[in-house]
């Protein structure tokens, strides 16, 4: 009998021991999302598979602002500077720079970099890129032509930009568009047809290796990259995965390592977050600073009446919208400048609480009484039907305006028709759209409020807002390179605009990216993290390159 008991105790002990070991193994070791890992040293090696929806149209980033061109070219080429989360410029091809006191002269010292074919990078390449490539073919090229008086190249390591008038956000502009391309490859050729645009020669952390159309683009590590020790990955493969469902499955199975915001809808975030081994983030997209806007056509009744606009602002429950349309991932917008531009943003503005009673009162005061069916007036709302966020917002708006007696007729539209009606014909009542702010109020924000920008090109001043005070303030702030001075001006602008309410700023909707936790150095500091894949490393790599 004793023997049996002993044996039982022994078995129990073994079982307990195994159980304990299992618990320790499962729960004890540091795993994924929750706990912050200690600062790790990057390892070398590995292949990083990035999903893209279609082939890029070219691999010359100085001629295109297309996302698929930039995400690949961003690994093969460099800009002069990059931007961190707070929009401070960070050295890249330019190792240091100087701004003159009058804000008209920017002097950049170039790093000791080489092109992938061995030739050295010089200031001539920079001058050539701006004048012969970017200025002529890039969608933002006009801005460069308008602002730059002259580019000087006193020696191969120094390039000097002389501006016509001071422009505060000049470094932001450069970080966004100015990828330097080789003069010795493109000079004297037909830039847009040069075969080099398909087999690019750059300065970047990765070299172009191969491009199988419709399948993938592969880039491999540049061992001679001018930033010591970088990059870490052996190669990056940009895989074409056009079907959203298949793409998601491939990501979960481990065939794709990174889904950037373009390919990672907000509706999937919660679900992917719960799967161990994956990380998601909203950081690293600050360059966009998207705001979901409800535009009033100020030239059409009843929207020329401030009380009507205020009433609508009070009728809207932004918290519900944030919850349901953006899955609670973004933030409520309070004004024309998003909180992702912390230096310019302020909350000391006129706020409109969710107050249905007040909305009803304002509409009564404005002279739009309810008829016997409870309706004050009928109006239409237009939006781009291909964006689920906008569609949901439209449906929510319709329901939220019912209790205040506004009958909202929904008009989903295809993009070209919508742009034509809103900007060319100015034939709309209400328009919902998400617009990015481009990293600086002088780049993506002022375009919506300047009276000089009421024209038929898309994404200009759609509401038709005219306020000379605001025009002056924007002009003053744009010209000043001193960020501290600009802050006060932008604070004032926000106060005025939230009072005048030409637009209701609904949400700062989120952009989300996701990647497999085996990889680090993704979305860690850059305001445009998706174009900065040169710092990614693989946790299962080796110690030495």
């Amino acid at each position: 009998m004793t023997l049996r008991c002993d044996r039982l105790r022994a078995t129990e002990g073994v079982i307990l021991g195994l159980a304990l070991a299992a618990v320790l193994l499962a729960g004890g070791l540091p795993a994924d999302a929750g706990t912050a890992p200690p600062a790790e040293k990057p390892k070398y090696g590995g292949t990083f598979v990035v999903a893209i929806v279609n082939d890029p149209t070219t691999l010359n980033p100085a001629t295109s602002s297309d996302f698929y061109v930039k995400i690949i070219s961003g690994t093969v080429f460099d800009t002069l500077v990059n931007l961190d989360f707070n929009f401070n410029p960070v050295p890249r091809l330019a190792k240091s720079w100087d701004i003159s006191k009058d804000g008209l002269t920017y002097t950049f010292q170039l790093a000791n970099a080489k092109w992938h074919d061995g030739r050295p990078v010089t200031s001539e390449d920079v001058k050539f890129t701006v004048e012969q490539v970017l200025g002529l073919y890039h969608p933002s090229g006009g801005q460069y032509k308008d602002r730059i008086q002259e580019i000087q190249t006193p020696n191969p390591q120094t390039v000097v930009f002389k501006l016509k008038t001071p422009f505060g956000p000049f470094p932001v502009m450069l970080a966004n568009d100015l990828y330097i391309v080789p003069k010795h490859v493109y000079q004297g050729t037909d830039i847009l047809r040069n075969p080099a645009r398909l087999t690019p020669v750059g300065t970047g952390p990765f070299k172009f290796a191969e491009w199988k159309k419709g399948d993938y683009v592969r880039v491999v590590r540049n061992p001679d990259y001018f930033m010591e020790g970088k990059p870490y990955l052996d190669e990056i493969v940009f895989k074409v995965a056009s079907d959203a469902g298949a793409r998601m499955l491939a990501f979960e199975k481990g065939e794709i390592d990174y889904l950037s915001f373009y390919m990672f809808p907000a509706s999937e975030v919660e679900r992917v977050r719960k799967i161990p081994g994956f990380r998601t983030t909203t950081k690293g997209h600050e360059i966009f600073g998207d705001i979901l806007d409800l535009f009033f056509n100020l030239d059409k009744a009843p929207y020329n009446n401030l009380k009507v606009r205020q009433a609508i602002a009070h009728a809207i429950d932004k918290n519900y919208m944030l919850d349901k349309a953006d899955y609670g991932l973004g933030k409520i917008a309070t004004g024309p400048i998003p909180s992702s531009l912390p230096w310019a943003y302020t909350t000391e503005v006129t706020r409109y609480s969710h107050d249905v009673a007040r909305a009803n009162r304002l509409l009564d005061e404005a002279g739009y009484p309810k008829n016997d069916k409870g309706i004050r007036f009928k109006t239409t709302l237009m939006w781009d039907r291909t964006v689920p966020l906008f569609t949901k917002t439209a449906e929510i708006l319709r329901e939220q305006l019912k209790p205040v007696g506004i009958d909202l007729d929904l008009k989903p539209s295809d993009r070209p028709t919508m742009l034509d009606l809103v900007f060319t014909k100015r034939d709309f009542d209400l328009w919902v759209h998400g617009l990015s702010t481009g990293g600086d109020p002088a780049i993506g924000i002022q375009r919506l409020y300047l009276s000089s920008n009421i024209r038929s090109a898309p994404f200009t001043n759609a509401s038709g807002y005219r306020n000379p005070t605001v025009d002056d303030l924007f002009a003053k702030a744009a010209a000043n390179p001193d960020q501290k001075a600009r802050v006060q001006v932008y604070h004032q602008v926000q106060k005025i605009l939230t009072q005048d309410l030409p637009i209701i700023w609904l949400l700062e909707f989120s952009d989300n990216s996701a990647w497999r936790d085996e990889f680090r150095g993704v979305h860690e500091w850059s305001a445009m993290s998706f174009y900065s894949l040169g710092e990614t490393w693989w946790t299962k790599g080796r110690e030495k390159p």
Binding site: E268, Y320, K324, T386, K392, A394, E395, E399, D409, P412
Partner: protein, 291 residues
């Protein structure tokens, strides 16, 4: 007339498919008619209870904006029936007219009309829908217009084949010899005898229209102001992995409705099959001159 109906029902009853289909359609019609009584909520009202699985409070769960799916399915039946019948009606009228004229007159007119018919058959559906909706806006009437344009060729070809078959029959030759006008022959002599395939075709057209509407809505061209099953399916795409009920119930509804109309079509086909029935000759419209 009573006798004919009873005869018809007796032969229709023999087809199990037909009876099942009829039951489904009847149930659908009842649901559509009594939607206000059956649905527990306004299908458009938003709530904070989003993506709740089916349960006591929401029989079929809720969607991402907290709307009750059961109410959506119930009210959606109205949209589907409206779209189905209006489309089938419009396309049948147009189809009979064009198919009839083509078949009866033959020759160059027939060639012309048949080329026209073929043109409408090969137009890519999606682009036609895009164009019409860009012109007329995303309303349910725009959708019905698109669907009618896409469906009439089927009826036209069917009716033309019938007309070709019948126009050489003795009673038609007799009518023409009597001096009856062409259109009168077409509508008083030929149509009643070609009615069976046309009626069967109507049933199939309704099913086809319901599926097409779902397809167009799924592609984002639907009317968001109407809570149709297709619009519900389109919305559910994003949540297939985490909320199966948002797609399954509207999908089942579409499946049942289409199945029902197809089965009714089968039943009608069996009941009206010309091989078993005797030919109807409209003697009363011919003025027989007693010699």
């Amino acid at each position: 007339m009573q006798h004919r109906l009873r005869e018809f029902w007796k032969s229709y009853r023999r087809s199990i498919a037909g009876v099942v289909g009829f039951a489904i359609i009847l149930a659908l019609a009842l649901v559509a008619a009594c939607a206000d009584l059956i649905a527990p909520a306004n299908p458009f009202s938003l709530s904070r209870d989003s993506l709740r699985p089916p349960g006591a409070q929401h029989l079929m769960g809720t969607d991402d904006l907290g709307r009750d799916i059961f109410s959506g399915v119930v009210y959606g039946s109205r949209v589907s029936l409206l779209v189905g019948f209006l489309t089938a009606g419009a396309s049948t009228l147009v189809g009979i007219l064009i198919g009839g004229i083509a078949g009866y007159y033959g020759g160059k007119l027939d060639d012309l009309l048949m080329r026209l018919t073929e043109f409408f058959m090969v137009i890519p559906r999606f682009f036609l829908a895009l164009v019409i909706i860009a012109l007329f806006g995303s309303s349910i009437w725009g959708i019905i217009l698109v669907l009618a344009i896409l469906s009439w060729p089927m009826t036209a070809r069917l009716f033309r084949a019938e007309v070709l078959r019948l126009k050489s029959q003795e009673f038609v030759i007799a009518a023409r010899a009597m001096g009856c006008g062409d259109l009168r022959i077409l509508f008083e002599q030929i149509l009643p005898n070609a009615l069976s395939p046309v009626i069967v075709n109507i049933s199939v057209q309704v099913a086809y229209a319901i599926i097409l509407e779902a397809g167009l809505s799924f592609l984002g061209l639907g009317d968001p102001a109407s809570m149709s099953w297709g619009v519900m399916l389109a919305n559910a795409q994003q949540f297939l992995r985490q909320a199966w009920w948002t797609a399954t119930f509207p999908g089942l509804a579409i499946f049942l409705a289409v199945l029902g109309f197809n089965l009714v079509g089968d039943g009608l086909n069996d009941a009206l099959n010309p091989r078993l029935k005797s030919r109807v000759i409209r003697i009363d419209s011919l003025k027989l001159e007693q010699a």
